[in-house]
């Protein structure tokens, strides 16, 4: 036990002390936050970058639809009286650079449902969708009016049904609580991705560490002082702790930097919402029905203790399972480049698990979801997605038992591969060799 702890310590500090590790650990949160913040920052600078661009709107219909296009930040729309014979370019040239472009609303716009923007600039999707929304509403109203039925517009409005589906879950005592599959699903997906990334990144790290020890021949000295099993487990635990450290630092830094950025720019850093006014509207619409408090309630209603304790179990099991495979295969080769014949199938398994997990969001209690969440190689990733949907107790139990049984078995198998592999040099190892070592 003492030796194992020593090996864990050495493994941990040898990686944590590396320059590449420190740089990566500090840089990553900046990259993440920057990627999130760039659109916000651009929007921020755009808003303050002086004058708005002006677009002339030529309304050939004579119905004054042009007035419907309201100004937004950065854009001003100036209606012009129509002249169907003039070319848009002539307007533009006449303005002599005072306008950025010309918007033509053609005479038969109600039938054709088309308007055109002429400009030397590329028109941003944001601008297009703004104009689209403005014109749509006005034209719809005009069209309804054109039917000549009194109060049709009111009828139309009332006829519009938009049902929002609320789900209510009974807890064990039969009490009602608002369930929140959205929040839980997002949480599940995140945990699932986290497991996937962690296993792949740190699994590879373990393999490199094994190969390095083998290549520089220190391994023979070390295994004359401890059991190969201790060395392998020390590595797996040490690298696991390194991973936890890195993730903790990332989480803390991302939150801190994110807060900092949003303070500086005074806006939310979530990029999709800002770039897309429609999404913004959708959110406002939803917010009218679902009050803020109900969103909060749904966030709070997730059984975090249950989800997180399951996560920890699956995470440890999944990590052990894959890490031991990486350690075992690492010991069987002399160079990292030789290892791909063994690691490719392992990585394929992980990718299958990830895709199964993504697919299970659609149908979390379907055949595939159930099976993939029980099979040990995919369960750590897939079960995370299923957790919010009340997995039957027996499935959860079976899945965890199978996962840990398999992980234990694979640790044992890998230890046998490792024991022989680390002391074998200059021989190309085949799967057949490895099977013989296990026996």
């Amino acid at each position: 036990m003492n030796r194992l702890w020593l090996i864990v310590q050495r493994e941990y500090f040898s990686i944590v002390g590396k320059k590449s590790f420190i740089i990566m650990t500090i840089l990553m949160p900046f990259i993440i936050v920057l990627i999130g913040a760039i659109p916000a920052a651009i929007a921020y600078f755009n808003d303050n970058s002086g004058e708005a661009e002006t677009y002339s709107v030529i309304d050939e219909t004579g119905m004054n639809y042009a007035a419907a296009i309201t100004d937004i930040e950065g854009y001003h729309f100036a209606p012009l009286s129509g002249d169907s014979t003039a070319k848009p370019r002539e307007f533009y040239d006449k303005a002599g650079g005072a306008i950025s472009g010309v918007i033509i609303i053609p005479k038969n716009v109600i039938q054709d449902k088309k308007i055109t923007i002429y400009s030397e600039n590329t028109i941003s999707p944001g601008l297009k969708s703004h104009i689209n929304t403005c014109i749509n509403d006005t034209l719809t109203a005009a069209k309804i009016a054109s039917f000549g039925v009194p109060d049709l517009d009111k009828m139309m409005q009332e006829a519009q049904v938009d049902v929002s589906v609320n789900s209510v879950r009974w807890d064990d005592n039969g009490n009602e609580e608002k369930s929140s599959t959205e929040v839980a699903t997002i949480l599940g997906m995140m945990l699932s991705l986290l497991t996937y990334m962690f296993v792949l990144m740190y699994g590879a790290m373990i393999m490199n560490s094994v190969i390095e020890e083998k290549t520089n021949r220190i391994v023979e000295v070390v295994v004359s002082s401890c059991k190969p099993f201790q060395l392998m487990m020390g590595k797996i635990i040490g690298v696991g702790l390194v991973g936890l450290t890195q993730f903790l630092i990332w989480v803390v830094l991302v939150i801190a930097l994110g807060t900092l950025f949003s303070l500086i720019f005074g806006i939310s850093t979530s990029p999709q919402v800002i770039g897309d006014p429609q999404a913004m509207q959708a959110i406002t619409a939803q917010a009218q029905e679902d009050t803020m408090s109900s969103i909060m309630q749904s966030i709070l209603s997730v059984n975090y203790a249950y989800v997180l304790s399951c996560f920890v179990l699956y995470f440890i099991g999944g990590y052990l399972l894959y890490a031991s495979l990486f350690a075992g295969f690492g010991s069987a080769v002399d160079e990292a480049s030789e290892a791909s014949q063994f690691t490719t199938p392992v990585i394929m398994l992980m990718i299958i698990a990830l895709y199964a997990g993504i697919a299970c969001v659609e149908n979390p209690n379907g055949q595939m979801a159930v099976w993939c969440s029980i099979i040990p190689f995919t369960s750590p990733v897939v079960m995370m997605v299923r957790l919010p949907y009340d997995v039957p107790g027996w499935q959860l139990l079976l899945s965890i038992l199978l996962l840990f049984a398999t992980a234990t078995l694979l640790v044992w198998v890998s230890a046998r591969i490792y024991r022989t592999g680390i002391l074998l040099y200059g021989k190309k190892t085949s799967i057949r060799d490895i099977i013989r070592w296990i026996r």
Binding site: R3, L6, I7, R10, S14, K18, E213, N216, R217, I218, V219, E220, V221, V222, V223, S224, S225, C226, K227, L423, R436
Partner: protein, 300 residues
């Protein structure tokens, strides 16, 4: 009682026998040579004594007891393929390996500083191993091997990679460790390097022990009755049909071979009556010669 007792050890890899019923007794406080050509099975045997691998059958006794996991702290092992963690500092590396062998942190630091001073490495204490020259790295590895005061030291090709000056220093350190009571096992195919230090040897060839015993006794039993003789004056030594034959002459000295049953005493007497004898000494075969002869005889 021998300190290390190897009893009928058999080890097989992939259907070929690496060790075939090998037995060996290493007395306490002895410098013991495990000799043999490359691939004879030396490394396999050493790994078994080190408890890195297990024998298929047979056993290894340490001080009369079957070895247990705790016994590995009593062993210091310098493998043929030297290796250290390149990115670690010298002090961290040595202390880590010492602690793996069960030393306390404080003990390890104390002992390490003594050894570093002895090898003039004190100023490299906090440098990374990769910045050291190969010779210095070898010394670091030697320190890591002996720092926990093991009762049994196993050196696999210890002098390879050392320049003559450092090799001599290493030899003196090893002798000093023997004097402090350590038992030392050398494994090598380089006979000359151990001839001067080993008291006993075991010669392995093709997984089997082919020769075993005290170095002096082995040499005696393999001697060819060859002598170097030198006399005064320029007159070359003539052969004597009754006493000896001449192998080669160079001026007034010659290498002679005594006939069967001839005594050294009679030969010296005869030489002294006919010449003025200035030198007469026996030529014992080198271990290298015995090694080659034995191996050839077996392969024939």
């Amino acid at each position: 009682m021998p300190f290390i007792q190897v009893k009928d050890v058999v080890k097989q890899y992939d259907g070929h026998k690496a060790l075939d019923c090998v037995s060996m007794d290493v007395p306490q406080g002895c410098i013991y040579g495990l000799l043999g050509p490359n691939g004879a099975g030396k490394s396999s045997l050493i790994r078994i004594i080190n408890m890195i691998s297990e024998p298929d059958s047979g056993e290894v006794l340490l001080d009369g007891q079957k070895m247990t996991t705790n016994d590995i702290t009593k062993i210091g092992y310098l493998p043929e393929e030297r290796g250290l963690y390149k990115k670690m500092k010298v002090c961290e590396e040595i202390v880590y390996l010492a602690r793996l062998k069960g030393m306390s942190k404080r003990d390890a630091y104390e002992e390490m500083d003594k050894w570093l001073a002895r090898f003039d490495l004190t100023e490299w204490r906090n440098r990374k191993v990769e910045t050291l020259s190969k010779g210095m790295q070898q010394k670091v590895q030697f320190i890591a091997t002996v720092i926990h005061r093991p009762q049994l030291l196993i050196f696999d090709e210890p002098f390879s990679g050392f320049d003559p000056v450092n090799a001599e220093q290493l030899k003196q350190e090893i002798l000093a460790l023997r004097d402090q009571g350590a038992t030392i096992l050398f494994s090598t195919h380089n006979m000359e390097s151990v001839e001067s230090v080993c008291e006993r040897i075991t010669l392995i060839n093709h997984a089997k022990v082919v020769l075993e015993g005290k170095v002096t006794e082995i040499k005696q039993s393999h001697k060819k009755h060859l002598y170097n003789v030198a006399v005064e004056g320029d007159r070359p030594i003539d052969a004597n049909d009754e006493l000896f034959a001449i192998n080669s002459t160079r001026g007034a000295s010659a290498q002679i071979r005594l006939k069967e049953g001839t005594s050294v005493h009679d030969t010296i007497a005869w030489l002294n009556t006919n010449y003025t004898l200035t030198a007469f000494n026996e030529i014992l075969p080198s271990m290298n010669e015995i090694f080659i002869e034995t191996v050839k005889k077996l392969n024939a």
